[in-house]
Symmetry: C2
């Protein structure tokens, strides 16, 4: 037997297809007994509305796109999960696209999404915003972890939390800091670096800038090597993955954390709580991030002409075991 349609159900219940449709979409327009009969029949037949047919008439795909630059970076699975959860609540599946760290792929893949999704969420893109904008021509679009004046965006604002991290370290006696910068094409990396620089300027501390390093474990190893060539007693890593790499590198060289050096990460990925020492890091409010992103996109879909929204959710500094008192002297 082929799939059930509103027609089979209609025939079965002795009503018209329109009534069946209404029983699902505007149940208040259908009398209770009829509605129940229809719903029962539908359940029995395992009816699933054809999203193609529905999409054709409503002009909605009933789906949103999510583009991530690198799904193998542990930050993004967390984001994917948060967004999927939020999208689930508005009953909208998400189509995931991984750009495999290529800016060109981002543009190509976003363009390919046109017409298949109602809108697209682009997380931490590497590609220039203008190219993305063009690729997403006339489809609702919101940036994650990057802001761009004419585009909606939602970001996790770590500025205050990084200040807190700095103060925390300062309070522990640290006076010389290293900044282990992230990829130069990353807006978030630039912004984090800037926040740290600003904090350092406001305090009488020395800040040594190192990098850029790749946002990977291996990039962290490199950063660790570089860090050891400086006399900084505390370091800000671009993200947790990098911080884990740094820790591993230092451990490999017999440098104790936090006894000899303190490290703070950013993002609070799963690994951060699992490694030894547990990472002091800036925790991103993932679930909120996902929820707000989906909300903004949904609004954009429903009212495409509105002004772009810009949401910023603050991260919060979570001290754990990778930060401690500065070595005397």
């Amino acid at each position: 037997m082929s799939r059930a349609t509103i027609y089979s159900i209609a025939t079965m219940c002795g009503v018209s297809p329109a009534t069946v449709s209404r029983a699902f979409n505007r149940p208040e327009l259908v009398s209770a007994p009829v509605r129940d009969r229809v719903l029962a029949a539908a359940a029995e037949l395992g009816y699933q509305p054809s999203s193609a047919a529905r999409g054709l008439v409503t002009g909605r795909a009933g789906m949103i796109g999510l583009l991530v630059p690198d799904i193998t970076n542990p930050f993004f699975p967390l984001l994917v999960r948060a967004i999927q959860r939020a999208a689930d609540r508005v009953d909208s599946p998400v189509m995931l696209i991984d750009a495999e760290e290529s800016a060109a792929a981002e543009v190509r893949l976003v363009a390919r999404l046109r017409g298949r999704v109602d809108g697209v969420l682009v997380a931490s893109p590497r590609a220039p915003a203008s190219a993305l904008r063009e690729a997403a021509r006339d489809m609702p679009f919101v940036l994650l972890n990057r802001v761009q004046r004419d585009l909606s965006s939602v970001i996790c604002d770590n500025t205050a939390a990084l200040f807190d991290a700095g103060e925390h370290l300062y309070g522990l006696g640290h006076r010389t800091f290293a900044l282990l910068a992230g990829p130069s094409a990353s807006w978030a990396a630039a912004r984090r670096s800037q926040a740290i620089r600003r904090w350092a300027r406001g305090r009488d501390v020395r800040l040594v800038e190192l990098g850029p390093f790749r946002a990977t474990y291996k990039g962290g190893r490199r950063a660790g090597e570089a860090l050891l060539r400086t006399d900084a007693t505390a370091a800000f890593a671009f993200d947790d993955l990098m911080a884990c790499g740094v820790i591993a590198e230092l451990a490999g060289q017999g440098v104790a954390i936090p006894a000899d050096r303190s490290i703070v990460g950013c993002d609070d990925v799963l690994l951060a709580q699992a490694v030894t020492p547990r990472l002091s890091t800036v925790t991103a409010p993932m679930d909120d991030l996902g929820r707000v992103a989906v909300e903004v996109l949904t609004r954009e879909i429903e009212a495409p002409e509105g002004a772009p929204a810009h949401k910023r959710l603050p991260g919060v500094f979570t001290p754990r075991d990778s930060t401690g008192p500065a070595r005397a002297g």
Copy 2:
């Protein structure tokens, strides 16, 4: 202006919509000059066929579903990427669903996919096969990393590679082994355990079974603690993530790897090559896995009545630095 359709293009070029459609789908049926004109007009208007309209008439969604049990486990991003790459070649976007480690969610989410995708790939499910089968009623379906007689499946067969790993360790003088088992609902875990047991029986070695442990870094820490309470000099971890946890735990207790104990992982996730010591592990042929999975599913979609296919791709043992000679004594 609203989106371009075959009608706008047809009018623009002075041909019928049917011809426009054919220019895309059966170009050999359209004369060269007309075809060029149509294609040019389409490009100019930025035409994208409506997948809803197409889907309605062809009965195809032009999309495949991929369900993973836990996207935060680093094995799955790799798989997602491999599958996405393969699906890209057949020009079929993939809809990712993360079940957040819940068997119930797997069933619910698979059911929700009906009609939205042409077929679904279910990776390493925790839910019972019968429930999945029912949820996926009358839609093409292939299992990854699990076999089930009446369902198509493609697995990475690590049996031989685990034998190799065993032989490698045996050659290094190890005689007492620990098996750190994975989650009990995981088919792959059961199979790996079985392979190791079989190998151990064929050799005069002692095998201590520990677990089950969760397939996470923390699960690995637990496994590490358990391992230290035994006198095994070598251990098989269920997967790399667990192996990393074990290494961290042992390192934390001052136990050297591979000097004091040897560890082998499984899967060869990115982290495996990045940690210290680099993990000896069983490398899964990810790209092939993705390619074959998509091939099997595609075949299933095109010929739904064929017999289920069962593909097994062998993993290969990759010795690195986490395995070494057994301590004398």
